[in-house]
Amino acid sequence: MRRVEVSGLSAWFGPKQVLRDVSMVAEPRAVTAIIGPSGCGKSTLIRCINRMHEEVRGARVQGKVLFDGRDVYAPDADPVEIRRRIGMVFQRANPFPTMSIFDNAVAGLRLAGRMPRDELHEQAERALRAAGLWDEVKDRLGEPGGKLSGGQQQRLCIARALAVEPEVLLLDEPASALDPASTLRIEELVQELKEQYTVVIVTHNMQQAARVSDWTLFMLYGEVVEFAPTQKVFTRPDDRRTEDYVTGRFG
């Protein structure tokens, strides 16, 4: 159920290999954090999970990503359906700035097909509630999304991702452009979301990984150095390179 299993995954941008034989598992009802220095392949890894990587010209993937036991790279797999079931939120909050808060929340649903207005409203409320934004915007759903604060915009993007009822949520440095209070708000939200979703979060903020995740994957130069329960990674990592990274001795 909603388990993501990456096995022997390698990825390239043209001739440049950016992932090397990566294996990891993201368990349901848990948060898996991916940490590592810039350029280590964190974002590429999650973009391979929902087949976003291949959208880049010249990008290539080898290996398996099993979702619910089925390979997302199987010839009969539908990338659009995969991206609906495995949602993604990016580093920079990117709501449609002039579109209303309501329309932003249901933008993905509208793309997926027609839906009666009251049902659309129900879904918007559910998604905005799940993203912890409902109470702040319920009286101003018609206002442009761009009017919200940075932290609210990012939660709006999370709501937009949740509205299409995904099973997995991939978060690519969702709080790196936010102030500390909004960052902590997003972290609390991530903790709430894991009750229902399989959550994978890429972050270059180690303390954030420590605070929010159950499992931590440490990557270096496109390879997995250590993958273990977060408490272990931050109290007694097995690999010297992990120790050096989490204690700030390099990176």
């Binding site: 209070a181 902590l184 972290e187 609390e188 420590a210 977060t230 408490q231 931050f234 109290t235």
Partner: protein
């Protein structure tokens, strides 16, 4: 702005509850150990010794949870002070539990020796002082009450006096080798109770640090200090 670190603070609250429960366990264990000594109850001696496993496992569990918070939650300000003070209080309570075991083991080893009612009364008196000291320290922690902390050194004074007086009581038994043998063990037990009082004062110091952000020893064997009066 709403609470942004609710889960972290929930865990802190839960740990405070565990520490308070551990305080009750440790205090009860001291009471039972002295009761078993005074009433010559061998079964109760064993119960105290066995019961320490629960305190020890609580201690380890709290220590591990605190370690996880330190490693994972980047605590700061009053949260950081609460965590470091709990780390100390946890250890003090575990040591108090060990002292109850030491008393019970000593009590177990002297069942065949003649005893002295006066000395047992002194031991009972020490227990009757140090147990409220533990309760006061834990109440100070629960209520975040600095005045309660500051009462502890004064409460500890009679314990120290009773402990010193114990030497004279035991010296008076010198004419009876069997009683003297028993009496020497009572000095060990009195010493344990005196240490329990010191641990209670140390817990008070930790709560003082938690509340004021400044650490200072309430009593210092090498450099006695003057404390402000109650309510200061």
């Amino acid at each position: 702005m709403g609470e942004t670190r609710r889960r972290f603070h929930d865990e802190l609250d839960a740990l405070v509850g565990e520490i308070l429960a551990m305080g009750e366990l440790a205090e009860r264990s001291i009471g039972r150990a002295v009761e078993a000594l005074v009433t010559n109850d061998a079964a109760e001696d064993e119960a105290v010794i066995q019961g320490d496993d629960e305190i020890d496992s609580q201690y380890v569990s709290i220590e591990q949870r605190i370690l996880a918070l330190l490693a994972l939650q980047t605590p700061v300000a009053s949260d950081l002070r609460l965590i470091t003070s709990m780390l100390h209080v946890n250890l003090h309570l575990e040591r108090i539990g060990d002292m109850a075991v030491n008393i019970a083991k000593t009590s177990r080893s002297i069942k065949d020796l003649p005893s002295s009612g006066i000395i047992l009364a002194h031991i009972q008196e020490m227990s009757d002082v140090v147990r409220p000291m533990i309760r006061t320290a834990m109440e100070a922690f629960a209520k975040r009450d600095l005045n309660l902390c500051l009462r502890l050194p004064e409460m500890d004074d009679p314990v120290d006096r009773l402990n010193i007086g114990m030497y004279q009581e035991v010296a008076a038994l010198a004419g009876d080798p069997a009683k003297l043998d028993w009496g020497l063990r009572m000095i060990l037990i009195a010493r344990q109770l005196e240490r329990v009082g010191d641990h209670a004062v140390d817990i008070g110091e930790q709560i003082g640090f938690l509340l004021t952000g400044e650490f200072r020893e309430f009593t210092d064997a090498s450099h006695p200090v003057n404390l402000p009066p109650h309510g200061a």
